[in-house]
Amino acid sequence: MTILKTILNDLGIPDGRVRLKWISASEGREFASTITNMVDELKQLGPSPFKTMWEI
């Protein structure tokens, strides 16, 4: 993840757009709050720069 994030940071893609978290099947609440937080943060960041690009 550190390698990937370093590469993406160099290209101007902020950390928050990529994340990795290990959550067990028994941690339903943790899973829900992680996704909710990520969606909130992504909404603040706005649409992905890739959305309209002809590649990726």
Binding site: I7, G12, E55
Partner: protein
């Protein structure tokens, strides 16, 4: 110490040195670059019979393949004999990375390093060799040392490793009079066994080497600053790499890219027709062939921490893409985060081979 030239002939003297390594059983076999027939081309050769060392060419300014790959294929398991391999610094650094990644084994390998002040592209080399006299190695080298570096491959122009490290012995030309002698560094027992080598380290060698390293480091820093401007965003990258035709030559030539089955050759990237239609519909338009950028980003992510900057990726590119530039730039940043310099210290574990509970923060 130095080896005096036999009858003033550099190639004959080197031939003699390598022949003795075999004849006196310093090694059982030798991998060394030799000019092929006319001298217009050269290749790494695996030699058992000393009489087949006819045209040793360790100083020729060209790198057709990274020799680390050659050694990797010979050490998939114990070759049963000790092999001396004659390589320049970028090849040895790649080989060290491959050994750390368990793709080569150095147990049976005796590393023989050669000085290198840079190589030219294969096509340029052919032009140089086309003249009646072929390549005059001494003239070529003194030309480069006096600052005539425009023809060098870009990677070589900023390579701060003229002298290979981690070797059992070194032969070299920097700081010696190539009309008189060749530099040799080897353990006393080896020089005694061979009965060659005399005198001290040539007086000017250290000074000239430090100057080369200093100049090239400076050039590398300047180039890295340029690259920071060149690769600022994903659209910058797409602009630079839109010409990629997915020939995969860069991956083929890369000494570090060792996967037997590259993920880009698997059916993961063999999409259904409706998938392409879906992407085109969602984005309005897509570039074909698709995922050329993803290919380069994936390769970066898979191996850039071990990139030793030999630049053969760019040399192999038919469309002249700045692959080396991209890997140099990203490699520097990734390697800095992990405080890792590939190919230098055999003891340093590559970042992907170690486990740390906490992820490092990217800078």
């Amino acid at each position: 110490m130095t080896i005096p030239l036999k009858d003033g002939n550099l190639v004959e003297t080197l031939n003699g040195f390598f022949q003795q390594l075999l004849e006196k059983n310093v090694v059982d076999a030798l991998i060394l670059p030799q000019a092929i027939l006319s001298g217009k081309s050269y290749a790494h050769t695996l030699v058992k019979d000393p009489s087949q060392i006819k045209n040793s060419a360790p100083f020729l300014p060209v790198l057709m393949v990274n020799g680390a790959k050659v050694v990797s294929s010979l050490t998939r398991w114990d070759p049963g004999q000790n092999i001396g391999v004659v390589l320049r610094a970028c090849e040895i650094r790649a080989l060290i990375e491959l050994a750390k990644l368990k793709q080569a084994n150095l147990d049976r390998i005796v590393l023989i390093g050669v000085d290198c002040v840079g190589t030219v592209e294969a096509a340029e080399f052919e032009k140089m060799a086309a003249g009646d006299d072929g390549i005059k190695v001494d003239e070529y080298i003194s030309g480069i040392l006096s600052g005539n570096t425009a023809n060098l491959r870009k990677a070589c122009q900023m390579c701060p490793y003229p002298i290979p490290e981690n070797t059992a012995m070194n032969i070299g030309f920097i700081g010696v009079d190539l009309n008189q002698e060749v530099y040799l560094r080897a353990a006393d027992e080896v020089t005694k066994q061979l009965g060659i080598g005399e005198g001290d380290e040539p007086a000017k060698r250290e000074q000239i080497v430090s100057k080369i390293i200093e100049d090239k480091k400076k050039k590398r820093e300047e180039f890295l600053a340029e690259l920071k401007e060149k690769f600022k965003s994903v659209p910058d990258l797409l602009n630079e790499f839109a010409r990629c035709k997915r020939c995969f030559n860069c991956r083929q030539e890369c000494p570090i890219c060792y996967c037997k089955e590259c993920i880009f050759l698997t059916n993961i990237f063999e999409h259904k027709p409706e998938q392409y239609m879906k992407w085109a519909e969602r984005k309005g338009a897509i570039k074909l062939p698709y995922e050329t950028l993803l290919f380069h980003l994936t390769r970066l992510n898979h191996m850039v921490f071990s990139c030793i900057e030999c630049g053969l990726c760019s040399s192999a590119c038919p469309n002249d893409l700045p692959v080396y530039d991209l890997f140099l730039y990203m490699g520097k940043d990734v390697q800095d985060v992990f405080d890792y310099i590939p190919g230098v210290n055999i003891e340093d574990e590559p970042p992907v081979c170690t486990f740390k509970e906490e992820e490092l923060e990217s800078r």
